[in-house]
C-alpha cells in the first residue's frame, strides 16, 4: 500500500508496481528518470532478479524430475528387500545414511551386534527344535497395499539328508480387525535320491498348498531314514562276517509304512 501523502518520486522501490507486475506476470516497462520511480541501478536489479528466477525455476524442475526418478527406483528396490526397519536396524540405517546423531559408530555397531547374536542364538534353538536346517530364505514383494500384501518366498535347506527347495506365495489380507494369511502356488524341489517314494506325496501337497504337512512329513520321513540307516549300520556290523552264496551283502529292507 502506498502511504498517503507521499509522492511516488520519494519511494525508491515502487512496491506497489512490483507486486502488481508479479501478480499479473507482466514485465514492467522500465521508464527513464524519476517519474517511474526506478533509477538505473534498480532497473538492472529487476532484470537480474528475473533472470535468476527463470534459472532457479528451471533448476527446480530438473531437480524435481531427478527426485521423482530416484523415488521410483527406490520403490522398485523395496520389492526385492524391505527397508522397513525398527530399533537397532533403524538406528544403523540412519547412521549409514549420514544421520550421526543416533550415536557413535562403536555404539551403533555394538548394539546391533548384540541383537544379531541374540537372533542367531534363537535361530539355533529353532533349528534344533524343528529338526529342519534352513540355508536361505528370500522374499520378493509382488503386491503391496494397505489391505493386501503378497510375497513370493523361496526357502532352501535340508532335513537330515533330504535337501529341499520350496517356493510359495504368501498372501496377507487385512479386513478390519481380522487378518488372514494364505499360502498358495507351492512348488517343491527335492534331491532326487528318494523321489520315487515321495513323488506322488509331493504333488498332492503342492495341489493343496499344505506347507505344514510337507514339513511334518519330511521330518518323519527323515527320522525314519535315520532310524533305518542306524539299524542297517548296526546290522552291518553284526553280520559283517556273513556273506550270501552269490557273494552280495544282505540288504536291510527296513520298515515300510
Amino acid at each position: 500500500m502506498c502511504p498517503a501523502g507521499v509522492t511516488v518520486n520519494s519511494v525508491r522501490n515502487n512496491s506497489c508496481l512490483n507486486k502488481w507486475s508479479e501478480k499479473f506476470e507482466v514485465t514492467l516497462i522500465q521508464g527513464s528518470g524519476r517519474d517511474s520511480g526506478h533509477g538505473p541501478m534498480e532497473e538492472n536489479m529487476c532484470e537480474e532478479n528475473m533472470e535468476e528466477v527463470k534459472v532457479l525455476k528451471a533448476e527446480i524442475d530438473q531437480l524435481r524430475a531427478e527426485v521423482a526418478e530416484l523415488q521410483h527406483r527406490q520403490k522398485l528396490n523395496l520389492k526385492d528387500m524391505t527397508f522397513n526397519f525398527r530399533g537397532q536396524m533403524q538406528d544403523a540405517l540412519s547412521y549409514v545414511c549420514g544421520q550421526k546423531q543416533v550415536g557413535s559408530k562403536e555404539e551403533v555397531e555394538s548394539r546391533l551386534k548384540e541383537e544379531v547374536e541374540e537372533l542367531e542364538e534363537d535361530l539355533k534353538r529353532q533349528t534344533q527344535m524343528n529338526g529342519i536346517s534352513l540355508n536361505s530364505c528370500t522374499t520378493k514383494t509382488l503386491q503391496s497395499s494397505s489391505r493386501k500384501l503378497v510375497q513370493q518366498l523361496s526357502v532352501s535347506g535340508h532335513c537330515s539328508e533330504l535337501v529341499f527347495q520350496v517356493e510359495f506365495k504368501l498372501s496377507d489380507f487385512t479386513q478390519g480387525q481380522r487378518s488372514e494369511r494364505t499360502i498358495s502356488d507351492l512348488n517343491v524341489v527335492m534331491d532326487a535320491s528318494d523321489l520315487s517314494s515321495l513323488g506322488s506325496f509331493l504333488s498332492g501337497v503342492e495341489e493343496s498348498s499344505d506347507l505344514l504337512l510337507l514339513f511334518r512329513t519330511l521330518r518323519t520321513f527323515s527320522d525314519r531314514c535315520d532310524d533305518r540307516r542306524r539299524t542297517f549300520c548296526h546290522f552291518q556290523d553284526s553280520v559283517s562276517s556273513i556273506q550270501t552264496r552269490s557273494g552280495t551283502w544282505v540288504e536291510f529292507a527296513g520298515g515300510r509304512t
Binding site: C46, L56, L112, V116, L153
Partner: protein
C-alpha cells in the same frame, strides 16, 4: 512545542520515516521470490542426495546379503572373492555386514515360523519354554495353539490353550513327552491340524452350501450329520460322516438314510459315498451338486 503547523510537519516526517523504514525491512518481492526459490532448490538437492545415499545403501545391503546366502551353501573359498567388492565405503562396511546378517537371520526365523516350526521361546529365565503349534488347511493359516512348559524338575505342561476335547495329557503320556518332546509335538500337531481342517471344512460347507442343512456337529468336528435334498422329488437324505480317526480330515465312514431305499442303492449314490470319503467335504458337495444329485 506543539502547534498545528509543526504537527502537520511532524506527521509527514513520520510517515516518510515509516516508508523508509519499511522499504529497508521489506525485501522487494523479486528478491524474496529468489530467496524462496533458492531455498526450494536447496531442499530438493538435499532430498536428492538423501535418496541417492539410501539407494546405494540398499544396494550394498542386497549385495552383502546375497553373498551371505551363497556362502551358507558353498565352500569358504568363495568368501574371499565376495570380500573384495566391499572395500569401497570400508568406513561403514562392518556396520553394513551386520545389517545384512540381521536381515538374513530375520528371514530365516520367519521361514521357520511359516513352515510350521514350533517357535520355541525360553521363559522365566530359562526355567520354562513356550511352544506354538500352527494349523492350516488348504493353504489357509488357521488357529495357533500355545503350550507353556516347566523344565524342572520334569518337563510338564503348565499352561495351554488347546481345546479340552483334544486329549492333551494322554497324548503327552503316550508320546513319552519327557524323553522325546518332538514326537509328542508331532502327534499333537497332527491332532490339532486335523481338527482345524475338519472345522474349516464345516465352515466352508455352511458358507458355500446354504441349501444343505447341518443337523448335527460336535465340538471336535468328528461327527457330522447333514440333510440333502434330491432335486425334483425333494426327497430328503440324511448323511452321517464319522471321522473316527482324529488325525484325519476325511471321514472313515459315511452313512446315508432315506425313506426311499432305491435312491441309496443307485450307482450315483454309491459313488457319492466314496466321493465323500476321498474328497474334502465342501468340494465333494460341489461335485454332487454339479452331477445333479443334490440341490
Amino acid at each position: 512545542m506543539e502547534g498545528t503547523s509543526t504537527k502537520g510537519g511532524v506527521l509527514s516526517l513520520l510517515s516518510l520515516l515509516e516508508v523508509q523504514a519499511r522499504s529497508r525491512r521489506h525485501v522487494p518481492p523479486q528478491r524474496s521470490r529468489v530467496k524462496e526459490l533458492r531455498a526450494e532448490a536447496e531442499a530438493l538437492r538435499v532430498r536428492r542426495e538423501q535418496l541417492k545415499t539410501e539407494i546405494q545403501t540398499h544396494q550394498s545391503l542386497q549385495r552383502l546379503r546375497t553373498s551371505l546366502d551363497r556362502q551358507s551353501t558353498h565352500d569358504e573359498e568363495e568368501e574371499e572373492e565376495e570380500e573384495e567388492e566391499m572395500d569401497e565405503d570400508s568406513e561403514n562396511s562392518q556396520l553394513l555386514k551386520l545389517m545384512a546378517r540381521h536381515t538374513r537371520v530375520k528371514d530365516l526365523l520367519l521361514a521357520h515360523h511359516l513352515i510350521g516350526g514350533y517357535d520355541i521361546v525360553k521363559t522365566r529365565h530359562g526355567k520354562g519354554v513356550c511352544v506354538s503349534v500352527a494349523t492350516a488347511y488348504e493353504g489357509v493359516c488357521l488357529e495357533t495353539y500355545n503350550l507353556e512348559m516347566d523344565l524342572k524338575p520334569t518337563l510338564r505342561i503348565c499352561r495351554h490353550n488347546v481345546p479340552p476335547f483334544v486329549p492333551l495329557s494322554s497324548l503327552a503320556e503316550q508320546g513319552d513327552m519327557q524323553t522325546d518332546i518332538r514326537a509328542f509335538l508331532e502327534t499333537l500337531s497332527q491332532h490339532l491340524n486335523a481338527f482345524a481342517g475338519r472345522k474349516q471344512q464345516l465352515k466352508l460347507v455352511k458358507e458355500q452350501h446354504k441349501t444343505i442343512e447341518v443337523m448335527e456337529s460336535n465340538a471336535l468336528c468328528s461327527i457330522l450329520v447333514l440333510m440333502f435334498t434330491v432335486p425334483k422329488t425333494k426327497t430328503a437324505i440324511l448323511c452321517t460322516l464319522n471321522y473316527s480317526d482324529h488325525t484325519a480330515c476325511l471321514p472313515a465312514r459315511v452313512q446315508f438314510e432315506c425313506d426311499v431305499k432305491e435312491i441309496l442303492e443307485s450307482t450315483e449314490w454309491r459313488k457319492n459315498c466314496s466321493l465323500l470319503m476321498e474328497t474334502p467335504l465342501h468340494k465333494a458337495l460341489m461335485t454332487m451338486k454339479k452331477m445333479g444329485n443334490i440341490v
